[in-house]
Amino acid sequence: MASALRSTILRHIRVPVSQTLTVTGSRLTAVRSMSSHDDHLDKQQVVDRVLDVIKCYPKVDPAKVTPDVHFQKDLGLDSLDSVEIVMALEEEFKLEIPDKEADKIDSCPLAIEYIYNHPMAS
């Protein structure tokens, strides 16, 4: 419930990508984002990188990894392994996920959803 609400909110507060318009041949930036972090990952990029991280985990058989696996049910990991995977994902995407939320991430779709909707994922 809370994660669904969170993802809905995060989906609505996307910062717009800066638009460029052409005035008399020169390109002027009309809207400049206030921070250097103005590019967001697209979905496919997130999926690929999440899968790469999971495939690199030593106890995982890379052939079994698809975008909709559950860490414990499908990959045969235990709960501490999934903690390690979530931490690896945090490092890959330079995120800081609060403990309680990280604890809820137990499958690939959830991880992709969370990272894709996170405004600071990079």
């Binding site: 005035v23 009309a30 400049r32 921070s35 903690v83 931490m87 800081e96 990280a102 604890d103 600071m120």
Partner: protein, 114 residues
């Protein structure tokens, strides 16, 4: 004790263990100066958790988790790595989003001169 409350208590204990492991693993990374020093430390930490994998007595588990949390609390890193934008990080609130409705017009006045 009823089965439901037993299971609820076990679920709460499992969550505490996961969060304790997560925090301890992060602190292992904070204490390790290099990545290659982190891996054996992380394995040792995992061993310490795995050693008590098959404990069944719920009261004993409770005491062990409390002891583990106390040990972790004593061992916490004084200056942990925090992702820059996160609360406590070096870039936290550095570029706050301007309030809605305010925008900067960068080509102001240009329309008169051209």
């Amino acid at each position: 004790m009823s089965v439901v409350s037993y299971l609820a208590r076990r679920a709460a204990q499992k969550e505490r263990v996961r969060i304790l492991y997560r925090r301890a693993l992060k602190d292992t990374l904070n204490w390790a100066v290099h990545r290659h020093l982190f891996y054996p430390d992380a394995d040792a930490l995992r061993e310490r958790f795995e050693a008590n994998r098959n404990v069944e007595d719920i009261e004993l588990i409770e005491r062990m988790i409390t002891a583990g949390e106390a040990a972790h609390d004593k061992w916490r890193h004084p200056d942990p790595y925090i992702v820059p934008w996160a609360p406590g990080g070096s870039k936290f609130c550095r570029n706050p989003t301007p309030p809605a409705g305010i925008e900067i017009v960068y080509n102001y006045g240009r329309e008169d001169n051209d």
